[in-house]
Each structure stands twice: as structure tokens, then as C-alpha cells.
């Protein structure tokens, strides 16, 4: 851990918040992508079966 | 086009509500301000131009969704689109009638409310002038927002979200003119910018709004 001096709180919170925001964005994108892909696949399978 | 303007104005007068409501809202907002910031006349005098501008802007926002929604719901919009007058003209006329029924009364009422907020005497003329120049831009930009959201069920809130960021430049220059006017400062450049925005918006926005309407019609 580098010495951050009196600004440790600021620097760490900035990194924390930014990376958390990015992570949330990635997670939301992935979740939505999965859901849509599953739905499409299910629909196409159902049509194939008919 | 004159026929359309006349019809819209007649409708606004007969339906009541429309501009009476906007004016009342403006009045209430301005009256509430001293309760929020305290009765200190010096503070009120300082913030008066901004508060009056903001109040007028919000009052203008209230009736925006009615610009096209009424004609949309009863099918008149289909008929207007097939009528010989261009849709751009329809938009311009609708924005004009919106201004005549909200922007103009607000402009005229603003000095009266300025008294309540202790607006410095040299500010009155500039306040009225800035509103007279700026509120047409608000109506036209609002017409664009209304054209975007006309087909939507709960378009009202979305309309505000879309239109408010577009109002930023007009608000900045308009309020700046009013503020500088009340403080007796030089105000040529914001006034020129304000007039420029109104003119530019009046020239170009009807095209964007008509394009949005056409998309919504199909």
C-alpha cells in the first residue's frame, strides 16, 4: 500500500466509487444480455418445436 | 395558418384553464419564495430577476403537453397533416398560440410580481424585455419536446425531463439580462445572445418538431 498521506480517504473513495460504478454497469449489462439471450433462445426453440 | 391560430386561441379562451392556470402557478411560486428564503428585502431584491425567470419558465412548462396532445387525441392531427399547410407551419402556429396564451401573459404579469419581490426600479423594463424576448424560445423549444412525446401515454413528466436541459441557455441569458438590468450593469451581450437564441430557435426548431411529428404520425 503506498503512502497516501492526508488524502487517503479521498483517493480511496474515488477509486472505490468509480470501480463500483463500472462494476455495476458491467453487471447490469451482462444480466440484461443473458436475460434477453435466454428469452430469444426459448422463443426460437418453441417455434422450432411447433 | 391564420385560421389555425384563430381556432387555437378560441379554444384556449373557451376551455379556460390554459393560461389562467399558468399565471396562477407563476403567482404562487413567486409568493412562496419569500417564505422559503426569508423576508429580507435585500436578499429578495437580489434574487428577484432569477426567481421571476425561473417561475415563468416553470409556468410555461406546465401547459406544454397540450400544444399537440389535444389535436392528437381527437384525430385533428391526422387531418392537419393532410391539409395543404406544411407541418412546419402548423408547429410554428401552435408554438405562437402557446406563447400568446402563456408567455405573453407571464411577461405582462412579471412586473407586478416583481413588486412583491422588491425588484429594483431599473430592473422592471429589462425584466419585461428579457421575458418578451426569451419566452418565445421557451414555447418553440417546448413545442419540439411536445412533438417528441405526443404519442406517449405518460408523456408529461418525460416532456419536462427532455425540455428542461434544452432551456438552459435561454434561462442563463434571459436571467442574466434581467439581473444586470436590475443592477444597472451593461447588458448588451447577453441581450444579443438571448435575441439570437430566440431567432435561431424560431427559424430551425419547427423543422425538427415537424420531423418528430411525422415520425409519430406513421
Amino acid at each position: 500500500m503506498p503512502e497516501l498521506g492526508k488524502y487517503a480517504g479521498e483517493v480511496l473513495s474515488a477509486y472505490g466509487i468509480s470501480l463500483a460504478l463500472l462494476a455495476v454497469l458491467v453487471a447490469v449489462s451482462l444480466a440484461r444480455g443473458r436475460r434477453v439471450r435466454a428469452k430469444l433462445r426459448a422463443y426460437e426453440d418453441r417455434k422450432g418445436a411447433r | 395558418m391564420i385560421a389555425l391560430l384563430r381556432r387555437d386561441l378560441t379554444l384556449a379562451v373557451r376551455a379556460g384553464g390554459g393560461f389562467g392556470l399558468g399565471l396562477a402557478f407563476f403567482l404562487v411560486v413567486v409568493i412562496l419564495v419569500p417564505f422559503a428564503v426569508g423576508p429580507d428585502t435585500e436578499i429578495l431584491a437580489r434574487i428577484a430577476p432569477g426567481v421571476l425567470w425561473l417561475g415563468a419558465l416553470l409556468a410555461c412548462l406546465l401547459s406544454l403537453d397540450r400544444i399537440f396532445a389535444l389535436d392528437w387525441e381527437d384525430g385533428s392531427m391526422d387531418l392537419l397533416a393532410t391539409a395543404p399547410l406544411p407541418l412546419e407551419g402548423v408547429v410554428a402556429v401552435k408554438a405562437l398560440s402557446h406563447w400568446l396564451t402563456t408567455g405573453l401573459p407571464l411577461t405582462l404579469a412579471a412586473p407586478v410580481l416583481g413588486v412583491l419581490l422588491n425588484l429594483p426600479t431599473p430592473g422592471f423594463a429589462w425584466l419585461v424585455l428579457s421575458l418578451a424576448l426569451g419566452t418565445p424560445a421557451l414555447s418553440i423549444i417546448g413545442a419540439f419536446g411536445a412533438a417528441l412525446t405526443v404519442g406517449l401515454k405518460r408523456g408529461g413528466l418525460l416532456l419536462s425531463l427532455l425540455v428542461l436541459p434544452l432551456y438552459v441557455p435561454t434561462l442563463i441569458f434571459g436571467a442574466e439580462v434581467a439581473r444586470r438590468g436590475s443592477e444597472g450593469l451593461e447588458l448588451g451581450s447577453p441581450l444579443a445572445f438571448l435575441a439570437g437564441i430566440s431567432l435561431g430557435v424560431a427559424a430551425l426548431m419547427p423543422y425538427a418538431a415537424a420531423a418528430a411529428l411525422r415520425v409519430n404520425l406513421r
Binding site: - | A3, L4, R7, L11, A15, D74, D78, A83, L217, R218
Partner: protein, 217 residues
């Protein structure tokens, strides 16, 4: 009907027309021709695309494919909604549309009022009219526009027998004067008219079209 179409040639011609609703083609390869003095009745079950075709012909939505030859300043469209303002009187409503379409309001309005038997109602606010009366007012608007080609979507909805007869009479006079009309209706109006069953034009093959949803099929 101040304007009469003298040439016997087609006033409207469409070939290979395809129309879409919600981004999916519903009608395809429609060929139709309409001559002055002629009426064409669109038939077909609900949802087949009568409204879609009429809106396309009126120029309210672009065609997916095909050609459409018509003077856009010659058509007038009347849909499910009448475009009647409740706060205005019958005369005011009609006068407004007459001005909008650039016809002389005084005579056209009087004639339209008479044709649809609205005489007693001229000073009533349209909001106080019954559904059938409102519909008659909506149809009277057609006369006021002075346009030759009428595109009518279910014009007889909420009309009683007498009013339907009234409308049929107006229609006959319009055609006799050289006008033309395309109607989507299930009633037999007793006017000489060709009919076109749209079920025959139901889009079967998927048209490859860049512009629409089908790029994704």
C-alpha cells in the same frame, strides 16, 4: 365539391404497393387504380390492414415498397376519429377546416351542413352532439375540403339508417361530380362500387427491407 375532375384517367394508381404496420409488412403487391367518378370498397377481416392501406394512400405513412401515383393535394383522409373540437360550434368546426383547405367557407359550409342535415345544430357546441351527429359533422368536413379523392375508414360507424342513406346520397353526388373514393366499410351503401378484398394481398413472403424490423428476422 367545388373541384371536379374531368379527365377519365386514373386519379390514383398504385402498383406493387407494400404497407407495414409496426415495422412488419402486412400487405404486399397491391395494384389498384381509381378513376374519377369511381368508388372502391376495401374488404377483408379485421386486422387485415385496411386502415394501414388507407393511411399509406393518404401519405400519412411511407409505403414499404412499390409506387403510388396520386396528387397529395387531392386526397382527404377521414379516420376513426372525427377531429371535431368539442368547444367549437358545428359551424366553427367546419369553417376552420374550410379555411385550412383554402375553400370559401361561407358557401361550402352551408352546403355541407345541408347535405348532412345538420341545419338545426349549427350553433350547438360540438361537444353536446350525439355520437352519430358528431360523425355526420366529421363527414361533412369532407365536403368542406373541396378535395376529389376521399379516403374513408369505416365512415358509417355510429350512424343510424337514415344517416347512412344521407351519406350514400352525398357519396353518389360526389361521384357523379367526378370525385372518387376509397372506403373501408362492411355496410352495403347501395352505391355502384368495385370492391377489393385485401385478404388476397396479405404479405406472405418476407420482403427483405433495410428499413424495417424484418432485417432482424
Amino acid at each position: 365539391m367545388s373541384q371536379t375532375v374531368t379527365a377519365p384517367a386514373a386519379v390514383m394508381a398504385a402498383s406493387g404497393l407494400a404497407c407495414a404496420r409496426g415495422g412488419i409488412a402486412v400487405l404486399d403487391r397491391i395494384d389498384l387504380e381509381l378513376a374519377a367518378g369511381e368508388a372502391l370498397v376495401l374488404r377483408g377481416p379485421n386486422g387485415v390492414g385496411k386502415t394501414t392501406l388507407l393511411r399509406t394512400l393518404a401519405g400519412l405513412q411511407p409505403a414499404l415498397a412499390g409506387r403510388l401515383a396520386v396528387d397529395p393535394e387531392g386526397v382527404v383522409y377521414a379516420g376513426h376519429l372525427d377531429g371535431v373540437k368539442a368547444m367549437l360550434t358545428v359551424t366553427e368546426n367546419l369553417t376552420f377546416w374550410a379555411r385550412c383547405f383554402g375553400t370559401e367557407p361561407r358557401e361550402t359550409v352551408a352546403r355541407a351542413v345541408q347535405a348532412f342535415d345538420l341545419d338545426g345544430l349549427t350553433d350547438r357546441a360540438a361537444g353536446t352532439l350525439s355520437a352519430g351527429q358528431k360523425r355526420r359533422l366529421g363527414l361533412a368536413r369532407l365536403l368542406v375540403t373541396g378535395r376529389a379523392i376521399w379516403l374513408l375508414d369505416e365512415p358509417t360507424v355510429s350512424l343510424d339508417t337514415a344517416s347512412v342513406a344521407l351519406f350514400a346520397a352525398v357519396m353518389r353526388r360526389h361521384l357523379a361530380a367526378g370525385g372518387a373514393a376509397i372506403l373501408a366499410t362492411h355496410l352495403d351503401l347501395g352505391i355502384p362500387a368495385r370492391s377489393l378484398d385485401l385478404s388476397a394481398f396479405k404479405a406472405r413472403a418476407l420482403i427483405e427491407h433495410d428499413d424495417f424490423n424484418e432485417a432482424f428476422l
